[in-house]
Symmetry: C2
Subunit: 127 residues, 2 copies
DNA sequence: AGAAAGCGTAACCCAACGGTTACGCATTAC
DNA sequence: GTAATGCGTAACCGTTGGGTTACGCTTTCT
């Protein structure tokens, strides 16, 4: 058990400036794909693929609204990654402050598995 | 001001399984380069370069000890990234819990700038 | 001094990634 | 029904990234 491959997914998704900017945009509410793409200088298909990465990593959820596609933030993975990071950054007695976060982590873990449902693998445990 | 490009550095560094495993190793105390490399199946130069990335991202500090090189964790960047993530994962009134973290962030920000000292740029603000 | 140990760097190769244009499919508008 | 809009995918291309082997420099051992 412990933290596993989804940290990779999440960290990988966040490790791109465009994708991070998209996430920041979505903080102020759901947006359509075109609306998002409109705010970037790069081509729309490029943004579309960034959105795909964000979807597959679970950071974002897409909801079909007519011929448009509304994107919304999913806080789960953020909390998971933050939880993983907390192992390293504990200025002074941090761990007990992360209880609520842990709860969030376990609550959303199962729901977030990608359709295909690749197995966990078990490697990269925290201990 | 606000979060900026060092999120990129940190996230990029963390977005690799080998590097994350190195970080986990170092949680239990400082280790030499060879000692770290010895625990991986990949070649030692490969590990050496991963260590370089970790060094440049500030997640790790190297201290020369004779002909060996001791690596130690630096909690600063972890806290920074966690702080950035906190904007998104706020199950319920999280922000005030991150004050101590914010302090840590500002305390270590300046010390961590890479020797070359590339300018901040100002983009990718949190607002 | 000479040999060995410990690390990092350089040069090289292939896979992955992010960008582009062309295209296809569904949904709304006329 | 036909045109236009919205969005995703496919095919392609240059760049980046992580792996390898070969090499060089410094520090310890004998």
């Amino acid at each position: 058990m412990g933290y596993a491959f989804w940290v990779d997914e999440t960290a990988g998704a966040i490790a791109d400036p465009v994708r991070r900017e998209i996430l920041v945009m979505l903080r102020s509410g759901p947006m359509s794909a075109g609306e998002i793409a409109g705010r970037f200088a790069i081509s729309r298909p490029a943004v579309s693929r960034h959105l795909r990465v964000l979807r597959e990593s679970g950071l974002v959820r897409a909801e079909l609204a007519g011929r448009r596609r509304l994107y919304t933030l999913d806080p789960g993975p953020f909390a998971e990654l933050a939880g993983w990071l907390a192992q390293f950054a504990r200025p002074s007695g941090w761990e007990h402050r992360l209880d609520a976060l842990e709860t969030e982590v376990h609550r959303t873990r199962r729901e977030r598995r990608r359709p295909g449902g690749a197995a966990d693998g078990g490697k990269e445990s925290t201990a």
